[in-house]
Amino acid sequence: MWSKKELPSRASGQGQDSPMKDDAFVLRVEDIHKKFGTNEVLKGVSFNVRKGETIVFIGPSGTGKSTLLRCINQLTIPEKGRVWLHDDEVTNSGPKISYFRQKIGMVFQNFYLFDHLTAVRNVEIALLKVKKMDPESARRQALYELEQVGMKGWADHYPAELSGGQAQRVSIARALAMDPEVILFDEPTSALDPELTREVLEVMKKLAKSGMTMLVVSHEMGFAASVANQIIFMENGNIVEQGPPDALLYDPAYVRTRKFVGQFADLTQRKD
């Protein structure tokens, strides 16, 4: 599924003023700071994302994970720090931000489907209004994306007529339709019952396997253990520890990480 182009071997870059230039990275996030009032939510967060990688952010609530995702596509403007997509700076990009937001898709905890539009219209509206596609191709692509998430049969239903899991799958299709290079998932299953959670995680797993680059804020440790290439543990606006699941979930270097991961012991049992 998702006939995305295979890993492009990008020619050596032209990024002039990037201190950490490395063409293997799709996305680079550099020293992000964000305050809400006097509350410093992000205290200088940096990390890099390789093409096709799935990074899962874990950590206690209120540690700035969701804010971090919103800083990446500039829905929240950080006070300090920069974000790069390949060699182009996403931060301070002015009107070009529209282009970056198409390339960096986002899926929200509460779906945020457009309530007045059917499922298929939800997926095609940005194709029409942002990509200026002709209505026929937009409809064709929208239906294709819905098919990918198993929602084609619900194309003409309104958000109010969908279950939470169905709505979240439509919202994934909506993000995919823009042909993004990275998708940000902001607690995509936190608002869902366990059984609905499963259907959404299935779609996300398939998406990861197809080579999509994904940043996921989630409390689903099972998903993190089985799908993530990297797990980033955040606390109090900082990255505490970062590494592959094996290391981070089963052999964390820091006590704080161990304590947090320990709460989910049953979910992360190593299946030997």
């Binding site: 009107p95 929200f108 940005a126 942002v130």
Partner: protein, 224 residues
């Protein structure tokens, strides 16, 4: 001469009055939406001074009696601007400007009732704020505003009769003229009241049909 034949004789004249009344209402509603909607958008998304200006506008037009507004514009403001406008036009404009003050509040409430996630999701897809307002926020808020907005129709319809005071030949003015000529009072007044009530009812039916046609499951008046 009995009442029925008087009414029959004056029917065309009354119909002319009905059409002027409906003309007043239609123009006033048109102006009300054309101004009220942008005013509401400014009040939600606009810069602070513009918000304050709209609030002051609404305070002024909502605080004054229709009669005083009609006198002020018909005898004062328009002539002072060098405009010699027909009473019908002044009446329609005043009802419209006043309607815009009320409707801007209705639309503003509707826009503000929309979950901010709708705007965030639209921006996340690369839409500009303007596109998001046009394609996402307005279609939703207009549906939400419709039930509240529909109350504007009976209000403007009954207020339109106050244009009698500046001599617009609408339904009430013509009714009074017929009364003055024929010396038949109660039956003709009651007939006029009945016409207003029927116009009210008919208009609400039309709005109801529109409400049903634009209804969306789980959305707006139909559900939470």
């Amino acid at each position: 001469m009995d009442v029925t034949s008087i009414l029959a004789e004056w029917t065309p004249y009354l119909i002319g009055g009905i059409s002027l009344t409906l003309g007043l209402v239609a123009i006033a509603l048109g102006i009300g939406v054309a101004l009220g909607l942008p005013f509401a958008l400014v009040q939600v998304y606009g810069p602070r001074p513009a918000k304050a200006a709209i609030s002051a506008y609404a305070w002024f037009f909502r605080g004054l009696p229709v009669l005083v507004l009609l006198f002020l514009f018909y005898f004062g403001i328009f002539p002072a601007m060098g405009l010699d406008l027909p009473a019908f036009f002044v009446g329609a404009v005043v009802l419209g400007l006043r309607g815009a003050a009320y409707q801007s509040q209705i639309f503003r409430g509707a826009i503000q009732s929309i979950n901010e996630g709708q705007m965030i999701a639209a921006l996340s897809l690369g839409m500009t704020r303007l596109t998001a307002i046009k394609s996402i926020i307005l279609p939703q808020s207009l549906r939400i505003a419709l039930p509240g907005w529909s109350n504007e129709y009976p209000e403007i319809l009954t207020d339109s009769a106050i244009c009698y005071a500046i001599g617009v030949a609408e339904l009430l003015t013509r009714t009074s003229q017929i009364v003055a000529v024929t010396y038949v009072t109660m039956p003709i007044y009651l007939c006029c009241a009945l016409i207003f009530i029927l116009l009210n009812y008919a208009g609400m039916r039309v709005i109801h049909v529109v409400e049903k046609r634009v209804a969306i499951p789980g959305f707006g008046a139909g559900a939470g």
